[in-house]
């Protein structure tokens, strides 16, 4: 379609070869390194003479499934708001997340669960891999519509490694708490994507302006994503916490925070909207900021009031960001942020990290009792004061911002490699570059990009 026949032939082979190469490499690494853990291996589990009811599966798997829905349905459909980019939004989410699950199992395994030269896998590694996929999809949101699938796979390859390193530094080296990933997932994913988008800046992007908006039905598809993300966010934040009160409290705090970000978003959206009308962009996105902002503090003794206050703040800041900051980011800083991930994940992620600093700093033996050991183990054993834990949390945020920015910059340079075909400006946000798109009755008169005939399956 675009360019010479040779270039077209090159693009034809690029995605298949890259998929096959990556799949081959992870398969070999799986064969060498990955093994069932004690809870999934028939011999190891039965050797221990456990009760089957004690298997971690029963405590984590329902949460895992909710997280899985968020990654594939939530992110995929949330990004389907564009009028002609639904196939790519849902489809590339599918591809990138599937690859990220494999690759992150290896990367996170090297850092977190290497035993005797082997990576041991089970429901916890499944949750962690889905978390990494979430970060990748946040970055995808920043460059949505402006990058091809081969570019995006390379982005995933790089980002997953940096995600694993950053997570290792924070959780294992610095002893930072970040169960729901305000830092490791949201801040990291957002700023990685934003810096990457900056490097890929397209001055002529207005050539595809007619494709940058939504249509009525695409906004409803996007709401499927929004609502599933909103519903299951309590499971997301609580999936990897300590069992018992920790998991329970995290889910509860997230639930409250989200209700408040929703009310805040509706209030602010109507306030700043023309004629007092609500804007779907705000409702689809900013209402979710309450989940992001308690990603760090949700497992702490935040109190229900604290959850409401944090969620409300996040929803308002996020809505104002969509209204006022996003245009400035593009005009002044040359950051083209398709989904506004700076508003949904960037600022609320940083706020969430700072909230974690605050609540960690306020931790007392009185408030946590014997439970202090499971929330702040280093404080409980006297190795750190609460203030010191707070400082470590703050340092974790700075580390994350550094890794994300450097990584996004490297990613941008990688994706600018000339042989990686990226869509020309007038064909950004257009499925037909990468997909066979069926004709639609109402679209017949819209020009040369339309497909000639409907697909047939039978």
């Amino acid at each position: 379609m675009a360019g010479s026949p040779r270039r077209a032939a090159g693009r034809r082979l690029q995605l298949p070869l890259l998929c096959l190469l990556l799949q081959g490499a992870t398969a070999i690494l799986f064969a060498v390194f990955v093994r069932y853990n004690r809870e999934t291996d028939a011999a190891l589990w039965h050797w221990g003479n456990h009760s089957n009811a004690d298997n971690e599966f029963y405590f984590r798997y329902p949460s895992f499934q909710d997280v899985h829905v968020m990654v594939f349905v939530g992110f995929g459909f949330l990004m389907a708001f564009l009028q002609r980019y639904g196939f790519s939004s849902v489809g590339f989410t599918f591809l990138l997340a599937a690859f990220a699950l494999q690759w992150s199992t290896l990367v996170q395994g090297f850092f977190h669960s290497m035993h005797g030269g082997h990576i041991h896998v089970g429901v916890e590694s499944m949750i962690n891999a889905d978390f990494c996929a979430g970060a990748v999809l946040i970055s995808f949101g920043a460059v949505l519509g402006k990058t091809g699938p081969a570019q995006l796979l390379l982005m995933t390859l790089l980002e997953t490694v940096l995600f694993g390193i950053n997570e290792f530094v924070l959780l294992s080296l610095l002893g930072v708490k970040d169960a729901g990933g305000s830092m490791t997932i949201h801040t990291f994913g957002a700023y990685f994507g934003l810096v990457l988008s900056r490097v890929l800046y397209r001055p002529q992007l207005e050539k595809s302006k007619h494709l940058q908006g939504s249509v009525y039905h695409s906004d409803l598809f996007a709401m499927i994503g929004t609502i599933f993300l909103w519903i299951f966010w309590p499971s997301f934040n609580s999936a990897p916490t300590t069992l018992g009160d920790g998991q329970h409290r995290t889910a509860l705090n997230t639930y409250y925070s989200l209700t408040a970000s929703t009310l805040g978003t509706f209030a602010l959206s109507a306030l700043v909207g023309e004629h007092g009308r609500l804007d779907m962009v705000h409702i689809q996105n900013a209402a979710l900021a309450g989940g992001v902002v308690v990603g760090t503090a949700g497992e702490m003794m935040l109190t229900p009031f604290g959850a409401l206050a944090a969620g409300f703040l996040a929803g308002t800041v996020s809505t104002l960001g969509y209204k006022f900051l996003t245009p400035i980011l593009e005009a002044k800083f040359k950051v083209q942020d398709t989904c506004g991930v700076h508003n949904l994940h960037g600022m609320p992620g940083v706020l969430g990290a700072l909230l974690g600093v605050l609540v960690a700093g306020l931790a007392t033996h009185e408030a946590y009792g014997e439970g202090l050991d499971s929330v702040f183990p280093l404080v409980a054993v006297g190795q750190r004061t609460a203030t010191s834990q707070a400082m470590h949390q703050l340092f974790g945020l700075l580390v994350t911002l550094t890794f994300a920015s450097v990584g996004g910059g490297l990613g941008g340079l990688l994706l600018r490699l000339p042989f990686l075909g990226s869509p020309p400006d007038p064909q950004c946000y257009e499925d037909q570059v990468y997909w066979e798109v069926p004709g639609e009755p109402e679209d017949e008169a819209q020009g040369p990009l339309r497909a000639e005939e409907p697909d047939t399956r039978a």
Copy 2:
């Protein structure tokens, strides 16, 4: 758009101010009253030296999540059948339910879980608050398209209080059993909404007749709501029952009842349809009546056959209601019931209450064994006979109908306050009154309500 500039400015501020006021009020009340319960508080939980596996989270949270999906995805998309009201259906569901969760936590907490001046929250209060949100959304269905978001928030404010009082009278004072809420949720929500709709009667509503129908895609969006409601209804009815056999049996009964209401609905829909054709309105709604009708008796020893019979009856009655009763309700009784909640929640709810009377009256020590204590504790300890329990159940239905009717009347008067802008008749069922609506290629020629340009996010 409609009316003078001053009125437009007033509307512009009404929703934001109301959201901020309500959020501020609940936040203050949360700060004063709401505390983690024993299962979510770090100090309290660890003080008791429990096994983490005993935390109620693991027994209730998967059911809670299913209920949560029903409230936000189920109700939201079910109401998205209207061709130009999908943003409002999904969006206002989102707003009202988010507020109801906060407000109901307070109201139900005052009545049910006040300990030492504090409301103790955890997964049970989350389930209960979602149940109240369900009742509010049922009422919303009756007035869908004819009320603005500020009106609906005030309705939620009032209805949540009355829901809490009615629930307290039934469950705590009268010792009525109603796990899945045939009375407290469905009957209450339906008649509250119907009386409210009666008070708001619009004689000129046919001015928006062209917007009252569905289009092909909007009916498919509505089916997303239907199917998720149908699938998760067993979790809804079983979420608050006693653990063990009670929860298990309730889910099983609901599962069977729903299959029978589905078969009954298909049978009756084709029977009464023109040319024997099926009507999406029936399939989307009446097929769910099997869940409503076992909301009271589902936890009792209804028997699998009893569940089938009840579900079949509810499906047929509901379908016939849509076909024959809804037009009469509007023509003769001036009740404009947008979603037909009388057919899906009203009649099946009353039938479900009566089924509860019947099955409670038939309870014997022989049938329930030692389990009688968890289903009918007052009968088990000899404080009541089964017949007396049945009479209490029946009285509970009458109390519910009274509270709902009086509450709906009060609500109607409240919503008629002149400064609360409600949409003019020709703009009922039209998103554009409250939302920035993107243009669509196929809609360009449809007149002055269309937006001028697509929204842009970046």
Copy 3:
């Protein structure tokens, strides 16, 4: 619409009468035979003095709910890809599955859980009935668009019986392992449907060629089905396994296999597509083949690498099947396979059965330890060697193919009974034959099949 008034009147009554007859019959059989099992009966459960936490509900119900989502949302929306057959795809899925759940409870109960003349039901029978519904819906996919609801109900009636017999022969008589149903569900459902479709061959089907494709939005609806199937497939395969490591390992293996089939599908789809473009048909379907292919071996010690390899193979074979085999099946073998179930369920199902043969044959006491008893009990007690188990697995595949083929043939003859109205060739894949379809602005000019006015609910 089509044919004489008498025929129209006949069709008008056919579906209602059949629904009522089937519902009446199952209700009577339920009254006579079906009873709560020990875990759902109040008296039986409390008699045993169990801890409520031990109730099977807490170990199986979350998996059941995921399976339930797959059956109703997954299959229903996956088949909604056709531009004018979404109501039928989602609606008939709803009807057939609801009936199959009742009928299969009886059929499977007769074979599997008859105690003292009664069928005992609980969460395990719920899972098993949903599995049978899955097989029925696979067969539905082969004949989608070419059969009416009365025909499909009769197909369900017959197929459920044969499904139950085949399952009984494999699991109970032959001692074959097939937790996720590579044989009993996928192979059986696919070849039953394919043979049935062969018997119903329509040489003039190109008369409805204009309706056989998708449109942009219908492909997005189908992706809802795809993604929910993909996400929850780990729960599907693990729902009926032994508790503990068995369930955990099955979910893990399925998760990995699906990631690999997704990468394989994207690779092959772009490789064989025109201009290197991806084809939604492949992504929607072949990416799921990884779930099918580990339906037998998923609970065995397949190893994570084995899961990746199997999934990749299945994804590639399935994609190539859609591209090259489906046209040949129609042209040479007169099998019109609307959804390509041969590619998604047929070939991957057979591959999955063969993978089961291989992995069973490799089973050793060393690899499984004490866990051998729960995966291969007959091998563990020395009644069989691993090789013998493998041979039994292989024989199970042959039995399944035989039952499916004979059953599909019988089903085809049944559905050709002349009084069962099937849609004429030009009206295949058209909702309006069976449904009141609302008008759409963009459809107004498309001829006499359009409805005259939108439906109204209020």
